[in-house]
């Protein structure tokens, strides 16, 4: 019996009233924790974990995984409406989602995000169904040098994407790297940049930084501009949802590329955050007309969302097949698996096919349920923007600060949010890009660990990054991305010349 037969068995297990109800509950709870910044999927799933100890494992994993999908969708909602990413992986969605919502097209932005997210997730599940046996072996080839190469590629595909001065990009990126080093260092076991402040031992949470830089920073700007949202006059109609749906096929190419990036990053496992950033960077790089990026380009929403969700879904495969979680949430679920009496690892597929394929079947259904639930509620979410700023503003501030507190139950983090808020405001005023800082904070310490582990393995020789076709290939791709602006300029100049020549002839 092939995977397909197992999958059908899985569907038979999953399609019961009991399990469908669990799915709906899971998705709803997930949307809730996703919408509240700071609570997030890993925390939400941990909170729910004790409740599942008495459930049978299949129902339990359905509940937790559906909560995960819901949280991923909820995270995009706040990114688009308030410029506050509910999840680290939805930061890239703010770049174009928020401007589009401000232009009065909140419904369009949300619909595009949810649809592409749903497509990304389903693509991830299809991949798991088809490739589960093969992928496990591929992921085993990844060691520290390969991981470093992947992170290098993520940085490279992001550099030079902004219209800002390269020096400013460099400054913010370095600041991000510095913030990422705060706390305990994996390689030396020592504390760095904590200045004797106990609250800094755990490091600077990336979510705290993001909530301050984006959320508070944006509120300060809005307040300065006159206490209102530009989007408030926008009318919200269900028709807009359908219109946006009709638009989707236009972004087929972006969706395909982002799906591949997402699946790859989910499996390897570099995680959904890296995937969404890389996908956004590439969408921008390969776009013919870059002028709308950062101002509400639909491709800037579709690309990171697709990649985010396909990576989030694919991340479950290494967890099940190898026992290595591809994301923080997957790590929590893995803890659950062990408590339910299962050992994640290569034998799980052989010993408990009923569980694994039940889960996979529930991923198909869970995502469909999630997309339907969020799509029908889009107008509801979008209408939040019509509430006067004098009401929404303070509510957002309250949500941000309670969210910042919830991350680690630390009051110190609330001061950090305030500090980052001021920094975000200054960055915007002085035209410094925030995205490179965020990217460096997320991937900085991982890239550093991977690099130093590689150096330990090779006794300090850089040739380890060219030691096999896999790592060499990724590095080469990274270098190509780094050099791309120069290459594109050379190619682009010819294109423009040809373009102006045709306009000339047209005039004549």
């Amino acid at each position: 019996m092939g995977n397909f037969g197992y999958l059908m068995d899985g569907f038979a297990t999953v399609i019961t009233t009991h399990h469908i109800v669990i799915m709906v509950i899971g998705v709803m709870l997930g949307i809730l924790v996703g919408v509240l910044p700071g609570l997030g999927a890993p925390n939400g799933v941990s909170l729910l974990l004790p409740l599942t100890f008495t459930m049978d494992p299949i129902s339990a994993i359905i509940l937790l995984s559906c909560m995960y999908w819901g949280a991923l969708f909820g995270g995009s909602t706040t990114s688009i409406l308030f410029n506050i990413p509910g999840e680290p992986s939805s930061v890239a969605t703010t770049f174009d989602g928020y401007p589009m919502a401000r232009n009065g097209q909140a419904t369009r932005a949300l619909t595009l995000a949810f649809m592409s997210a749903g497509i990304g997730a389903l693509a991830g599940v299809v991949m798991i169904t088809l490739l589960s046996t093969w992928v496990a072996r591929f992921a085993l080839q990844f060691s520290s040098p390969e991981f470093f190469a992947v992170y290098f590629l993520a940085f490279a595909s992001f550099i030079g994407m902004g219209a800002n001065a390269p020096a400013k990009t460099l400054v913010t990126m370095m600041l991000g790297f510095a913030l990422a080093t705060v706390g305990m260092d994996t390689i030396s076991g020592g504390l760095r940049l904590t200045f004797g402040i106990p609250d800094l031992i755990k490091g600077v949470s990336f979510l705290v930084a993001v909530m301050g830089l984006f959320g508070i920073g944006e509120l300060l700007l809005t307040t300065e501009e006159g206490l209102r949202f530009d989007g408030i006059k926008a009318r919200v109609r269900a028709v807009d949802v359908l219109k946006a749906l009709k638009e989707m096929p236009r972004y087929g190419w972006s969706i395909l590329r982002s799906t591949l990036i997402g699946i790859w990053m989910g499996i390897t496992p570099a995680g959904p955050t890296a995937a969404s950033f890389m996908s956004y960077g590439l969408a921008r790089r390969f776009a013919k007309d870059k002028s709308q990026f950062g101002k509400g380009d639909p491709r800037g929403i579709v690309s990171p969302e697709t990649a985010d969700h396909s990576a989030g879904t694919s991340a479950l495969l290494p967890m099940l097949a190898l026992g290595v979680p591809g994301s923080a949430t997957a790590a929590v679920m893995m803890g659950g698996l062990m408590i339910w009496g299962m050992t994640p690892g290569p034998m799980l597929f052989i010993e408990r096919p009923d569980f694994v394929w039940g889960l996979i079947a529930s991923m198909y259904l869970g995502n469909v349920v999630a997309v339907l639930l969020v799509l029908t509620t889009v107008p509801l979410y979008a209408s939040i923007l019509r509430v006067p700023f004098s009401i929404v503003g303070p509510v957002i501030v309250a949500i941000i600060f309670s969210g910042a507190y919830q991350i680690a139950n630390s009051t110190f983090d609330m001061w950090l949010v305030l500090g980052f808020g001021v920094l975000g405001y200054l960055f915007k005023k002085l035209d410094y890009p925030i995205a490179p800082l965020v990217l460096a904070m997320v991937l900085g310490d991982k890239a550093e660990d991977a690099f130093r582990q590689s150096m330990l393995m090779s006794n300090g020789s850089l040739t380890i990054f060219w030691s096999n076709p896999l790592v060499g290939g990724i590095m080469a791709l990274g270098l190509l991305m780094l050099a791309w602006p120069v290459v594109a300029k050379a190619v682009g100049l010819r294109g423009i010349r040809r373009g102006s020549a045709t306009t000339h002839s047209a005039k004549l």
């Binding site: 004790p50 520290s144 929590v332 803890g335 582990q453 393995m457």
Partner: protein
């Protein structure tokens, strides 16, 4: 301030006759690892057993404070001096961390309550490795000094200390590569990127089942109890102890420990000790310990103190030799 004094007085009056302690509000379980880590599973298992058997009336809130290899949680508990509502879960990292890193707390800032289990360490190699026993492994390491790469979780922590102890006992030289977690070290070994690791049973079980890694020996004084076969007809009981296989280290284990902040009443310590003792006597606890191949061993009071003193002395010898001691 006045309110606090009054409360304190009231509390003394209330506590004086019976000398009993009973939590009157929710108890916080401070977990010194991230969600999904070994300490996290430990704390959440204890939590589920307590609520299932109603061993405590007050509700429980679990918070993960795993930053800085767990230092975050211990610093947090140390900052709540005298607060009997912060029960902190850890390993021997409570007294290990202050010796290797400049963390802002001292081992004495927490009061030991009990240890519930001992987690084991084994030497694992890749499933396709030509080496089948620890003697051959050590011989290979001696033939090519610093060629064998040992992966492990974190730096200057239990894993690296054990690798250093092996090196000292045999005269072989290894290269140690720290990863973020034992899980990462397990996958790196399964993929053949490193040569060996010293993971706990639970961290490598899945890979062993599939034959991707194999155990050489375990650092227990005696063999594991009999259990179901895991791979190729071999079970945990078939793994020789390192001492019997020719590596002169009798025992190296990691306790699963529970702490309160310093300065709490003896009555509070006694209360939690009794609750944990009851936890360790349930069927669910035996199941957890068996599933994760740990050894259930309840230690409290003087037993636990004596264990700590011994453990600290052994560890300090290694730290001194490697020059890792921070003071």
């Amino acid at each position: 301030m006045l309110k606090q004094i009054t409360l304190a007085m009231l509390a003394t009056i209330a506590a004086a006759p019976a000398l009993a302690f009973e939590p009157a509000r929710p108890v916080e379980f401070v977990v010194t690892s991230g969600p999904g880590g070994g300490t996290d599973n430990f704390a959440r298992t204890v939590q589920s057993i307590i609520s299932k058997h109603k061993l405590m009336d007050a509700s429980i809130v679990v918070t993960n404070k795993g930053g800085g290899s767990g230092a975050e949680g211990f610093v947090y508990a140390a900052g709540h001096k005298g607060d009997p509502y912060k029960l902190t879960f850890g390993t021997n990292n409570e007294y290990l961390l202050p010796s290797v890193a400049a963390v802002p707390y001292k081992a004495e800032d927490l009061t030991p309550v009990a240890a519930l289990a001992l987690d084991e360490f084994l030497v694992w190699v890749n499933g396709e490795s030509k080496v089948d026993d620890i003697k051959a492994f050590v011989a290979a390491a001696k033939a090519e000094p610093k060629a064998i790469q040992f992966g492990g979780s974190q730096s200057k922590d239990t894993d690296q200390i054990l690798v250093s102890t092996i090196a000292d006992a045999t005269g072989a030289e290894f290269r140690y590569i720290p990863f973020k977690s034992g899980g990462e070290a397990a996958v790196q070994l399964a993929g053949g990127h490193i040569d060996a690791n010293v993971n706990n049973p639970n961290e490598n079980r899945g890979q062993w089942q599939a034959g991707m890694v194999k155990p050489l020996c375990v650092f227990r004084p005696d063999r594991f109890p009999k259990s179901e076969p895991v791979h190729d007809g071999k079970g945990w009981n078939d793994i020789p102890t390192c001492a019997e296989a020719g590596l002169a280290i009798d025992s190296y284990r990691m306790p699963r420990t529970v702490w309160l902040p310093a300065g709490v009443d003896e009555a509070a310590v006694a209360f939690y000790r009794d609750v944990l003792k009851k936890v360790s006597e349930t069927q669910e606890w035996s199941d957890y310990v068996a599933k994760t191949s740990q050894t259930s061993q309840f230690m409290a009071g003087d037993d636990f103190k004596a264990y700590q003193t011994g453990d600290r002395e052994n560890v300090r010898k290694v730290l001194k030799r490697e020059g890792w001691l921070v003071e």
